[in-house]
């Protein structure tokens, strides 16, 4: 082996600080500050817990979306899938309630997880085995799931059996030491997601596939399997969100989860995950979901801007976030 005379200086091991990585958290802090200044009620415990609880569904689904997007995919079907899973779960619970009583809730939740996982598997297999653009595949399944829930509810509402409501209600409305259950469930999902993406071999493979699928393939990574699994994870996250969502309204309707896919993708992207794949930011995604919900809340509490413009402000934020990213990363 040829050795050069001068050994190179030992390179530094410390990680460099990238300011762009902190941008979502700085933005979140700013918005909370503005909210506090505008309306004193904003910072109250009740209001903050309410806002965070409302953001739980988008946050949970967006954790799954972070995996899909980090692996270079996209899932537009999450909103419709959420409604479909909700419908199936309610039907299962209602059907099981006479025989099993309150246990029907746990069994229905199990059904939801299985159905969510299968919906994700279906998306994933068409993308990887069928080799079709994820945008097109999930645009198709978005329509399919939406039509299914409309059919299942007969265009109206599919209510949860009354006998189950009292037992199921705490999953959304209950709290543990002052922290609502949906927030705790979100925290568990986030911690699991962060562990899976950052600390496991599978997470490493997800980002390598999203960064450059050819490099991954040449390195012996089963690109198709890794990608398919991200869609399954997405489906499971959708199911968890559905389990938390049902006790809130106690029914599934054709408009359940409508346009959530846009909120979910917005949360992921303003959280700093690249839409072209290769980097996933779980905590950034959580910040993104909170930003969306808090902005809506601040607008409702203040009289400055009509709350009918909430979607416009959210839309402006994703564009501003991307522009900020462009200008900070090009330097």
């Amino acid at each position: 082996m040829t050795m050069t005379a001068v050994a190179p200086a030992t390179p530094a091991t410390g990680s460099r600080i990238r300011w762009a990585d902190f941008a979502p958290f700085i933005a979140l802090a700013l918005i909370i500050l503005i909210g506090t200044l505008i309306n004193s009620n904003f910072a109250s415990h009740a209001n903050l817990m309410n806002v965070i609880t409302r953001s739980a569904f988008v946050a949970i689904i967006a954790i799954g979306a972070t995996f899909v997007i980090a692996a270079g995919g996209l899932d537009l079907s999450v909103g419709s899938m959420m409604a479909f899973v909700t419908g199936i779960m309610i039907m299962a619970m209602n059907g099981l309630a006479p025989a099993y009583g309150d246990w029907a809730i746990a069994m229905g939740a199990g059904v939801a997880l299985v159905v969510g996982g299968l919906c994700g598997l279906f998306n994933g297999l068409i993308v990887t085995v069928g080799r079709i653009e994820p945008f097109i595949v999930t645009l198709g399944t978005m329509g399919i799931f939406r039509a299914f829930i409309t059919f299942m509810t007969d265009g109206g509402s599919l209510p949860l059996d009354r006998s189950l409501r009292d037992a199921y209600r705490p999953v959304y409305f209950g709290s543990f030491f002052g922290i609502p259950y949906p927030v705790l469930i979100t925290l568990v999902v986030v911690l699991l997601g962060a562990f899976l993406l950052y600390k496991t071999k599978y997470g490493r493979r997800v980002t390598s596939v999203g960064s450059n699928a050819e490099v991954a393939r040449f390195s012996g990574v089963s690109v198709g399997r890794v990608r398919t699994l991200t869609y399954v994870i997405q489906g499971l996250c959708v199911a968890v969100a559905a389990i938390c969502y049902v006790p809130r309204l106690g029914a599934a309707t054709p408009t359940t989860g409508q346009l959530w896919e846009l909120q979910v993708i917005t949360a992921v992207v303003i959280g700093g995950t690249l839409l072209r794949g290769g980097k996933g930011r779980i905590w950034g995604t959580v910040a993104g979901a909170l930003i969306l919900e808090i902005i809506a809340n601040v607008m409702v509490l203040s009289d400055l801007v009509s709350e009918y413009l909430v979607a416009a402000v959210q839309g402006a934020i994703i564009i501003i976030a991307m522009l900020a990213h462009r200008f900070t990363s090009s330097r």
């Binding site: 490493r204 960064s211 050819e214 490099v215 012996g220």
Partner: protein, 516 residues
């Protein structure tokens, strides 16, 4: 375009179509072409030959106005010319037919021919006239395509003819053909050569670039040889044999860059591949490798070497009668199964297939051997950093920080990182595709040293290289590929640049070498 008075009268009987004097091209500090002077007469075929990287393509781009020269002058019949862009050169009657097909696949043949210069009648596009003129041009180049055919539906050879027809749309004084036969089959090549001859008779000056020396000999009136961005000289074609052309193209002595040749030890066969067919026969062959041996695979770029190895690894559609690694038959070939059997492959496409340029060094290093470094489900980040530190010192990877993105490293350091990456699984058979493409001489020498050390340690190595000196300097045995088939096996004293170049360009084993 500036036109000055004719400064120099052309010499010789035939009218001069174009003359270049002292052309130079440098990109920053790197000179790719220096002091090229040649002329093209009307009604002649002037061939330009040289190894990959000799500067042929740059010269063509300078002559056709695609790139401006750093120094030097061009003359046409009306005097000195300087093309600011390709369209100016086209107006002056010089056109380059690119090696790659540059046509819009969804447009028709006629629409492609007249793209950007559509004929109109009032506000309307005059399809009728354009189709009629296209038909005449297609007939002239001997194409069977119709003006209304969609270009994407045509076979590659017909597209190449359409591209030539496009060059003939207006009267041309000079046509530059950059490897026009690279994509053609044998009978199509013959047809194309006929077209070139008929253009010559019509008084067009033709600059013809090709790797195929038999074509050059059959067609050219004069031949200019380039080597390392400089002119070796211009000769009448009748004075050069194919062997002499190959010698002039390489004409270098082996430098001290290469490690001393090891005594050849015929170890146990570690890899044997029988009847491997890749991409439905685009590339195919049988070969074997022994422990302690460096097998070189030579041939021109695009001769199917990379495809063969990627096929072996199951990265391309392929089938084989039998593949044995270290005495065990491999039934399901994949990167994983072959890696498990002790084989590793370093791709020629460092940034596209080798490294994650947006990821930092440790994930790059361990990606292929992730299961080896991390036995469980969870990543062992401390162990990854330890492996990285070891690789950085073993392979002398020069980095400021270990958290740098791989894309920020220099080419040479990227290549050393990639080498470290494939060595993570401790392979006994290492296949390296273009070991030193685009890296500086210091890193080259180091990489040659690493390869030598591996083989001395009893590993076996396959080197695919387009750089003849490298191939000759490293290999104990050389297989030469041409058009997806092995055409020659060179051993011992037969291994020299002339023999490799001769086999790569003519497809013949050089039996004359022993007699000469």
């Amino acid at each position: 375009m500036t036109v000055q008075a004719l400064a120099h009268a052309p010499s010789g009987a035939a009218p001069l179509a174009m003359r270049a004097e002292g052309l130079c091209k440098a990109y920053g500090a790197i000179t790719v072409l220096s002091d090229i002077s040649l002329d093209i007469e009307a009604g002649e075929v002037h061939a330009v030959i040289g190894e990959n990287g000799a500067g042929k393509s740059t010269l063509m781009k300078l002559l056709s106005g695609h790139v401006a020269p750093t120094d030097g002058r061009l003359f046409m019949e009306n005097g000195s010319v300087a093309f600011a862009e390709a369209t100016e050169a086209e107006h002056a009657g010089v056109v380059l037919v690119h090696q790659e097909i540059l046509l819009a696949a969804d447009l028709t043949v006629a629409q492609n021919l007249f793209l950007g210069r559509e004929l109109t009648r009032g506000f309307m596009v005059d399809d009728k006239t354009m189709n009629r003129r296209t038909a005449a041009l297609l007939a002239r180049v001997g194409s069977v395509a119709r003006p209304t055919d969609r270009v994407g539906d045509l076979p590659l050879a017909q597209r190449q003819l359409v591209q030539i027809a496009r060059a003939l749309l207006e009267d041309r004084k000079i046509i530059i053909l950059d490897e026009p036969t690279a994509v053609l089959a044998n009978d199509e090549v013959a047809a194309l050569l006929e077209i070139v001859r008929s253009l010559r008779e019509q008084g067009v000056g033709i600059l013809y670039i090709s790797h195929r020396l038999n074509e050059v000999q059959a067609l050219a009136d004069r031949i200019t040889v380039l080597r390392d961005g400089r002119m070796v000289g211009t000769w009448p074609a009748s004075e050069l044999s194919q062997r002499r052309m190959a010698e002039l193209m390489v004409g270098r002595e082996l430098s001290m860059l290469y490690p001393e040749k090891r005594p050849v030890v015929a170890g146990e066969p570690v890899l044997s591949v029988t009847d491997l067919v890749v991409d439905d026969g685009v590339s195919q062959g049988s070969f074997s490798l022994r422990a302690g041996e460096v097998l070189g695979i030579g041939g021109m770029i695009g001769s199917g070497r990379t495809e063969l190895i990627e096929g072996l690894l199951g990265l391309r559609p392929s089938h084989a009668r039998r593949v044995e690694v270290n005495g065990r038959e491999i039934v399901h070939r994949s990167v994983r199964s072959l890696m498990a059997a002790g084989l590793a492959y370093l791709t020629e496409d460092r940034k596209g297939k080798g490294l994650l340029v947006d990821a930092s060094l440790a994930p790059n290093l361990t990606l292929q051997a992730l299961d080896g470094v991390n036995p469980g489900v969870v990543l062992q980040q401390r162990r990854e950093v330890a492996e990285l530190k070891k690789a950085v010192s073993d392979y002398d990877i020069r980095v400021r920080s270990l958290t740098l993105d791989a894309g920020k490293l220099s080419g040479g350091n990227q290549q050393k990182l990639l080498l470290a990456k494939i060595m993570m699984s401790s392979p006994s058979i290492i296949i390296i595709d273009e070991p030193t493409r685009g890296i500086d001489i210091g890193n080259k020498s180091q990489i040659y040293g690493f390869i030598d050390a591996m083989v001395r340690a009893g590993k076996a190595c396959i080197i695919i290289s387009s750089e003849m000196p490298e191939l000759v300097g490293l290999s104990d045995r050389v297989l030469v590929m041409r058009e997806g088939r092995f055409v020659a096996e060179l051993t011992g004293a037969e291994i020299n640049e002339e023999n490799v170049a001769y086999a790569a360009t003519t497809g013949r084993h050089t039996a004359a070498a022993g007699e000469a």
